[in-house]
Amino acid sequence: MSAENPAAPTVTESAAPRSAAPMWIIVVTLLLLFLGGYYFDQHSGWFNAKVYAPYANAEKLNSFQPQSGETQRIARGKFVYDSVCGICHGADGLGKPGQAPPLAASEMVICKGVSRLAHIPLAGLNGPIKVCGKDWSLSMAAMGAALPDEDVAAVLTYIRTSWGNQAGPVTADDVKKVRADMGRNAPALTGVQLLNLPE
């Protein structure tokens, strides 16, 4: 309007002053951003494909995983035994003539210490040996060498507590220690070497 009538400069609209946004809007915006970030952090699971509500994050989800107790270790041991050892030693642990000596009531299995026993699956065993009063002369490959410590421990625990055997459990640390003592690619043991090892 003022441009059409230069004679009346008094009615010229003054430009709105460029004032800063009110402080409270800035504070509220920052607060909302902060709360949004906090909510995202608490509830998003950080885009983890495995985390679904109501589990807020991977940590919470992990706390709901079944505990790995002794029973679970033995169940795992049975699984490993059936797939690796049971083919020769038999699902009943009684061994098979001409194939593998028994594990049930075997003095090698139910002995007090676990180091000597752990050497057998980790290194393998060759040649004559006496088990349960019978002479055996066979060859066992290092069946446990490729298995993780936990699985070797689980399977040894399984054979020490099954078929009437009542010996203590084997821990993954025991297996780890034996593996470290043995070194890599250790040759298969003979029966005499095995018996010379400390229990």
Binding site: L61, Q67, F79
Partner: protein
């Protein structure tokens, strides 16, 4: 011209942002999904369907089953449950006192009110849930403290929510459940029940056929339409078909006739029986009842 470029850029950014959100991000998150291992087992989940069931998915799709049925179980919470299963040689009253004396233990202090409170009106019947809550440390501490006194407890992880209370599953549905579904038949409306574990709830193919042929024969109040055209009513030949529907009363065909499913009905039922989301996974843990025994 400048305006044209601005409009193009604005449209490009708007479409690009939604493409990133709806296509790219889910692809990055779940595009590489593979079979997962069932918790505490060496088996994989899910298993590829049989050929018949794979065809059944297309039948399910063709007849619009997903318009009235969902295949997604929701879960609103998860809890640890410590259940007393045997008192051994203990007496119920002594056990109550023992539990009260336990509550000074620091691990249990936070939940002592609910544990003691749950025993107030208890007069010895078993099994008795001692603790139900989302704190795994409290649950394991309680179980550890009760082990040496000769009582037997069982700690279970349970999924909770209205869908689970209805018996539609033991846990929520997760992406892994749909690995072999193409297209995924999630559904969005529940005129009928959820079908995520119908293969567990109704594992009998003949029941599924009867339900498709005459829904009211198996579920009296069903509002489902009948899919009679998937079946053939024919005269009984030299011997009755092993697939003949076991219909009774008003639903049974005339004497000398039998109702047999056409291939499509068999495929659809095979697909329904393949819906068995009942195994615990890392992303949806729970303790199956069979394992806890």
């Amino acid at each position: 011209m400048r305006t044209g470029i601005c409009i193009f850029m604005a449209a490009f950014i708007a479409l690009g942002a939604s493409w990133c959100g709806f296509v790219l991000a889910p692809m990055l998150q779940l595009g590489g999904a593979k079979q997962t291992v069932i918790l505490q087992s060496a088996d994989n989940w899910p298993q590829q369907r049989t050929g018949e069931a794979t065809l059944g998915l297309q039948v399910y799709r063709a007849y619009g089953c997903a318009a009235c049925h969902t295949e997604q179980v929701r879960q609103t919470g998860a809890a640890f449950e410590v259940t007393l299963t045997s008192l051994g040689t203990q007496k119920a009253a002594d056990f109550k006192d023992f539990i009260k004396s336990l509550m000074v233990v620091p691990d249990l202090a936070t939940s002592s009110n609910s544990i003691v409170g749950s025993l107030d009106k208890w007069n010895g019947e078993l099994p008795k849930t001692l603790y139900s809550g989302d704190d795994g440390d409290v649950a394991s501490a309680l179980a550890d403290h009760l082990k040496p006194v000769g009582v037997k407890t069982e700690t279970r992880i349970i999924a909770t929510g209205p869908d689970i209370a209805r018996g539609w599953g033991s846990r929520q549905s997760v992406a892994a459940d749909y690995l072999y579904d193409a297209p995924v038949q999630l559904g969005s409306l529940r005129a009928g029940p959820d079908l995520a574990n119908i293969g567990v709830r109704a594992p009998d193919a003949n029941w599924q056929w009867q339900h498709l042929y005459a829904p009211k024969s198996t579920t009296p109040n069903s509002t489902m339409p009948s899919f009679k055209f998937l079946f053939e009513v024919r005269a009984v030949g030299a011997a009755p078909s092993p697939d003949a529907l076991k219909l009774a009363g008003a639903f049974a065909p005339a004497a000398g006739f039998e109702v047999v499913p056409k291939p499509e009905a068999k495929e659809l039922a095979a697909y329904l029986l393949s819906l068995k989301a009942n195994v615990p996974l890392y992303e949806a843990p729970f303790t199956p009842v069979t394992l806890a025994k």
